[in-house]
């Protein structure tokens, strides 16, 4: 699979209700091997894509742009890979008891 097949897929909960779209995919780069393991998917509730990632960073400047872009991406959240049941051509399906995490980068 290539990344663009995953981006913008609808995200469905366990009963098939649409809860958003995949806006990005988070990876962890191993310090020793350099391998990039998938950690989870970022889900946007209102927009199909986010711009500049202000909702994932602590930067607040320029203030007006930062506030606007955070507002535009409000409701975004991260779901870890353990809570993703499967990836289908018509959407990403989550487990019943999936947890929402802050999209902020560590």
């Amino acid at each position: 699979m290539i990344l663009s097949e995953l981006l913008q897929l609808p995200v469905l909960d366990a009963v098939g209700t649409r809860i958003g779209v995949v806006t990005d995919v988070r990876f962890a780069l191993d310090h020793d091997s350099g391998d990039a393991h998938m950690l989870g998917v970022l889900i946007g509730r209102r927009s199909r894509a986010t711009f500049l990632g202000y909702e994932r960073k602590t930067e607040t400047a320029p203030a007006l742009i930062a506030r606007f872009l955070r507002w535009r991406a409000r409701g975004s959240f991260l779901v870890l890979l353990d809570d993703v049941r499967s990836i289908e051509p018509d959407g990403v399906r989550l487990r019943t008891d999936y947890r929402r995490y802050s999209p902020e980068l560590p």
Binding site: L3, D24, R26, L29, D35, M38, R85, S86, R99, P106
Partner: protein, 132 residues
């Protein structure tokens, strides 16, 4: 007002978001010469319909470069044969740009540039050496 979401459990690794940190980055070879830009990423062994909890976490296996601008704008998919891959194992460093551990001449992705240099540019008088 809703409660803020909890932070995800921390991991002992560098965390990056593919679209934010990896796509559209320039790729340089070991000597700093530009090779390509990252248009997409190949995720190894991830198939539609697969139950993800039953398997190890998928990994990035290659950087992909190719003519994908039109599919980004208008949808559809670029034929796989037109996408050039650079193995993730060739990546030496990731910063503002990707740096590879090999020279660009050894990569399939630069075949057109090499073909153009030898068959066209090299036949123009003065075109087979650096400017003096």
């Amino acid at each position: 007002m809703t409660d803020p979401l909890p932070q995800a459990p921390s991991v002992d690794a560098r965390v990056v978001d593919a679209r934010l940190h990896l796509l559209d980055r320039q790729v340089l070879d070991v000597e700093g010469d530009p090779v390509a830009t990252v248009d997409d990423l190949e995720i190894a062994d991830l198939q539609y319909g697969e139950r993800l909890p039953d398997r190890p976490a998928p990994t990035i296996s290659a950087l992909i470069s190719g003519p994908i601008l039109t599919t980004r704008l208008f949808g559809g998919r670029t034929p796989p044969g037109r996408l050039q891959k650079i193995g993730w194992d060739l990546v030496a460093d990731l910063d503002i740009v990707f740096t590879l551990e090999v020279k660009s001449e050894s990569l399939e992705v630069t075949w057109f540039e090499r073909w153009l240099a030898s068959r066209v540019i090299g036949r123009i008088p003065g075109g087979d050496h650096d400017p003096e």
